[in-house]
Amino acid sequence: MALLKSNKVIHCLGNISPCLGVLSTRSSSWWGGVQMGPPDPILGVTEAFKRDTNPKKMNLGVGAYRDDQGKPFVLSCVRKAEALIASKQMEKEYLPIGGLGEFNKACAELALGDNNDVLKSGRSITVQTISGTGSLRVGANFLSRFHAGPRDVYLPKPSWGNHTPIFRDAGMQLKAYRYYDPSTCGFDFKGAFEDISKIPEQSVILLHACAHNPTGVDPRPEQWKEISDIVKKRNLLVFFDMAYQGFASGDINRDAWAVRHFIEQGHNIVLSQSFAKNMGLYGERVGGFTVVCNDAEEAKRVESQIKILIRPIYSNPPINGARIATTILNTPDLRSLWLEEVHGMANRIIKMREQLVAGLKKEGSSHNWQHVIDQIGMFCFTGLKPEQVERLINEFSVYMTKDGRISMAGVTSGNVGYLAHAIHEVTK
C-alpha cells in the first residue's frame, strides 16, 4: 500500500516515526519534509540591487521595458483603450474556456497576417491564455497528452530558463540543439543545422520566433529557410515561442517572418504568443496559443481537447488584458498608435545598443563589440565571464545575471556612459 512505502520514513521524518521522543514543530507539521525551494536567480539580482545604496546602481536583470528615465512605460494606446473600456461599463460574466473570441481572432491575425490562407480556411485554432507562460504550459500539456511522437522537446542552447521546468512539469523530456556560439557571440548555424539533422523524427523542436531570449541572437532569413527545410525533412513538430513580435525590429511583420515562412512551407506549427512586452501588459497576463491543423474538422477536435485541459487549471481566462489588446488591435487609430509606440520602444533599445558600443570605443576598448549591435530585442549576451560579472556587481553596482546577459531595457541615455566605462574597466 502506498502509505507503507519505505521512502515515506525518509521524507516525512517525524510524521509517523515512533522512535522520536519529543516531536519538533517541524516534524509535527504536514510540511516537515518540504524542502526550501532554491532562490530564483533573476529575482536574486533584483533583491541585491534593491539593497545597494550606490546612487549609480543599474539593474540590468529586469525583463521589462523601461523608458529613457528608467521608469515603467504604460503605452498611450493602452491608456486610451482602458478609458474606452471603462466608459462602456461592461459586465463581468465568465469568458468561455477558450477566452475572448475577438481577441483570439485578432491575436492569430497579428501573428499569421490578416489574409493568411490558414486563417481563411479555418484550419487553425487559437485560445486565449495566461500570457506566454500560460500558453507554453497549455501547449506542453496538450503535446504531453496527444502527441504520439517521442516525449522529447528540443530547446536551443541556451533558452529561456522557464522553458525547461514548464515542459518537464507537463511530462515532457528536454533535449537541446546547439544555438549560441560564444566565440562569436552569434548564431552557431552550422552546429544548429548539424544537431537538428540528427533529431529523431516526430520530436518537438522549440524555436524562438524573434529576439531570442537570453542571447538576442536570431537566424537570418536565409538561415531560417534552411532550418525550415531540415526540420521538414526530419518531420519535426515545430513549437514557436513568439514573445516579442514588434518589439524586436520595431516591425510586427518583420518579426513574424519566420513563423509565416514556416507555415507557408507547410509546417503545421503550434505557436505561443505574449503581449506582455509589445503592449506593456505584463501583469494583465495576455497571451494566445495556436495550433495549425490539417483542416477545420481537426481544428475543432483539437480545440475541444484544449478546453478540457484548461478547465481544471483555471476554468477560463481573465478578461481585462484581452479586452485592452483587442480594443487596440481592432480600433484603427489605436492600432496605428500602438505600431508607433512599439516601434519607439524597439528603437530606443537599438539606440542604446549603438550608444553602448560607441561608449566602449570611446573608453578605448580594443575588443570587438559588434555583437551588441547585431543582437536584437530586449536582451544582450555580452560575452562577459562570471568573474567579470562579479566585478561589475561588486565594484560598479551594475547588476546582471551570471551568464553575462543584460537587459538593454535597463540602459538609458543617462547611464549608458557609466555602463560603457564599467564594462571597459573589467575587460581591458
Binding site: 526550501m36 512539469d169 494583465e284 475541444s304
Partner: protein, 410 residues
C-alpha cells in the same frame, strides 16, 4: 498525415453547453437556471456598485502601471483575502503561520493546492494518496485533482436523495474508514450543487474524526458572504477548524461574492503549524506557479484589495453582498410558497433549508428533460437549479413548470 489525426472530439463541458442551448432557444418564456452566476430581478448580470466605484479609481490612478505582480501575487490582496476567511482576530494570522497564493479564481487556487499536495504531501510525489470529494460535488473537483496527478479520487457520502438532506452517518462513516492522511475536499458553505451544509454540531463531529484519523482538510470556499449574507457566519466552519489547530488549505473564490467572474480572482490560503513550515511551503508553491502562469493577473486583485483594505469600501461591499444573498433568500421563500400553493406533490422544505446559489430540487433526469424540452426551463440533469435565475417575473412560470414535471413525468 497529421500528428493530431487521432485526437478524439471531447464532449463539451455540460454547464456551458446548457447555457449555449439556452441562448439558441427562441422561446419567449425561456429561463436559464443552469450556470452559477448572480442575476438581478431583471435577470441581468450585476456589477457591484462598489466594484464600479473602485474600477473608476483604478483607471484614474496614473500612478498605477501594468508591471508584473510577484509570483505569489499582490501582497495586500493575499493578506486581506486570508483575513476575510480566517477573521480579523485570527490567532493563526497573529502567529505568522498563515500565507497565501493569489490564484486564477477558485479553480486556480484548488489546482495550485492540488499540485502542491501531489508533490509534497504524504511522502514525496505520492500520487496514490486518496482524495475524497463529496457525492455529489462540483464537477471540476475531479478534473483538478486528476490533472494534478492523483490516481485515487473517491466519493464520500453526502447527499441523501431519499430524505433530501445531509447523509451524516454515511459521511462520518467514510471519515472513519478513510486511510490515514487521505485528503478531503470540504465545501466551506453553500455546498455546490446541493445547497446543503452541515450544522455547527455536525461540523464539530466531522472535525473530531478528521483530527483523530489525520485526514487533510482542503476547504473550497466559493460563496463566503453569498450564502447567509454574513461573512462571519459563512466562515464559521473554516474558523472552527483553524481554532482546532488543523493545518489546512482554503481555496477562496471572489467570483461570486464580488461578481468578478471574468477577472479570475482567487486565493489559496495556507494555515501551517508555524512560520518555518509556512515559508518552505510557499517557496515550493512559487515553483509550481512559475510553470503554470508565472504570476497572476493584476486587475481583479487590485479591485478586491482596494475594497477589503478600506473601511468604507469594505462596508459598502458587505452591503452589496447582503443584497445578493437577500434576493436569493427571497426567491427560495417564494418558490416554496408557490409550490405549496399549487399543491405540488412532495415536500418542499429543502428549498428554504438549503443555502447559497444552488438548490437540489429532487427532480429526476426525465423530469429535467421535460423542463428543458417542453417548458424551456434550463437546469442541470442532476436537478440542480441556480436560484439566481429566478425573478419575480418568471417564478410563477417556473413553479408551474415544476408542478407539471412532477405530476406528469415519472
Amino acid at each position: 498525415m497529421s500528428v493530431f489525426s487521432d485526437v478524439p472530439q471531447a464532449p463539451p463541458v455540460v454547464v456551458f453547453k446548457l447555457t449555449a442551448d439556452f441562448k439558441d432557444d427562441g422561446h419567449p418564456q425561456k429561463v436559464n437556471l443552469g450556470v452559477g452566476a448572480y442575476r438581478t430581478d431583471d435577470c441581468q448580470p450585476w456589477v457591484l456598485p462598489v466594484v464600479k466605484k473602485v474600477e473608476r479609481l483604478i483607471v484614474e490612478d496614473c500612478g498605477l502601471n501594468h508591471e508584473y505582480l510577484p509570483i505569489l501575487g499582490l501582497p495586500e490582496f493575499r493578506s486581506a483575502a486570508s483575513k476575510v476567511a480566517l477573521g480579523e482576530d485570527s490567532p493563526a494570522i497573529k502567529e505568522n503561520r498563515v500565507g497565501a497564493v493569489q490564484a486564477l479564481g477558485g479553480t486556480g487556487a484548488l489546482r495550485i493546492g492540488a499540485d502542491f499536495l501531489r508533490r509534497w504531501y504524504n511522502g514525496t510525489n505520492n500520487r496514490a494518496t486518496p482524495v475524497y470529494v463529496s457525492a455529489p460535488t462540483w464537477e471540476n473537483h475531479n478534473g483538478v485533482f486528476t490533472d494534478a496527478g492523483f490516481t485515487d479520487i473517491r466519493p464520500y457520502h453526502y447527499w441523501d436523495a431519499a430524505k433530501r438532506g445531509l447523509d451524516l452517518s454515511g459521511l462520518l462513516d467514510d471519515l472513519e474508514k478513510a486511510p490515514e492522511h487521505s485528503i478531503f475536499v470540504l465545501h466551506a458553505c453553500a455546498h455546490n450543487p446541493t445547497g446543503t451544509d452541515p450544522t455547527q454540531e455536525q461540523w464539530k463531529k466531522i472535525a473530531e474524526i478528521m483530527k483523530r484519523r489525520k485526514l487533510f482538510v482542503f476547504f473550497d470556499s466559493a460563496y463566503q458572504g453569498f450564502a447567509s449574507g454574513s461573512l462571519d457566519k459563512d466562515a464559521w466552519a473554516i474558523r472552527y477548524f483553524a481554532s482546532e489547530g488543523f493545518e489546512l488549505f482554503i481555496a477562496q473564490s471572489f467570483s461570486k461574492n464580488f461578481g468578478l467572474y471574468n477577472e479570475r480572482v482567487g486565493n489559496l490560503t495556507i494555515v501551517a503549524k508555524d512560520s518555518d513550515n509556512l515559508s518552505r511551503t510557499l517557496s515550493q508553491m512559487e515553483k509550481i506557479v512559475r510553470t503554470t502562469w508565472s504570476n497572476p493577473p493584476s486587475q481583479g486583485a487590485r479591485i478586491v484589495s482596494k475594497t477589503l483594505n478600506s473601511p468604507e469600501l469594505f462596508a459598502e461591499w458587505k452591503g452589496n453582498v447582503k443584497t445578493m444573498a437577500d434576493r436569493v433568500l427571497l426567491m427560495r421563500d417564494q418558490l416554496k410558497t408557490k409550490l405549496l400553493a399549487l399543491g405540488t406533490p412532495g415536500t418542499w422544505d429543502h428549498i428554504t433549508e438549503q443555502i447559497g446559489m444552488f438548490s437540489f430540487t429532487g427532480l429526476n433526469p426525465k423530469q429535467v428533460e421535460y423542463m428543458i424540452k417542453e417548458k424551456h426551463v434550463y437546469l442541470m440533469a442532476s436537478g440542480r437549479i441556480n436560484m439566481c435565475g429566478l425573478t419575480t417575473k418568471n417564478i410563477d412560470y417556473v413553479a408551474q413548470s415544476i408542478h407539471e414535471a412532477v405530476t406528469t413525468v415519472q
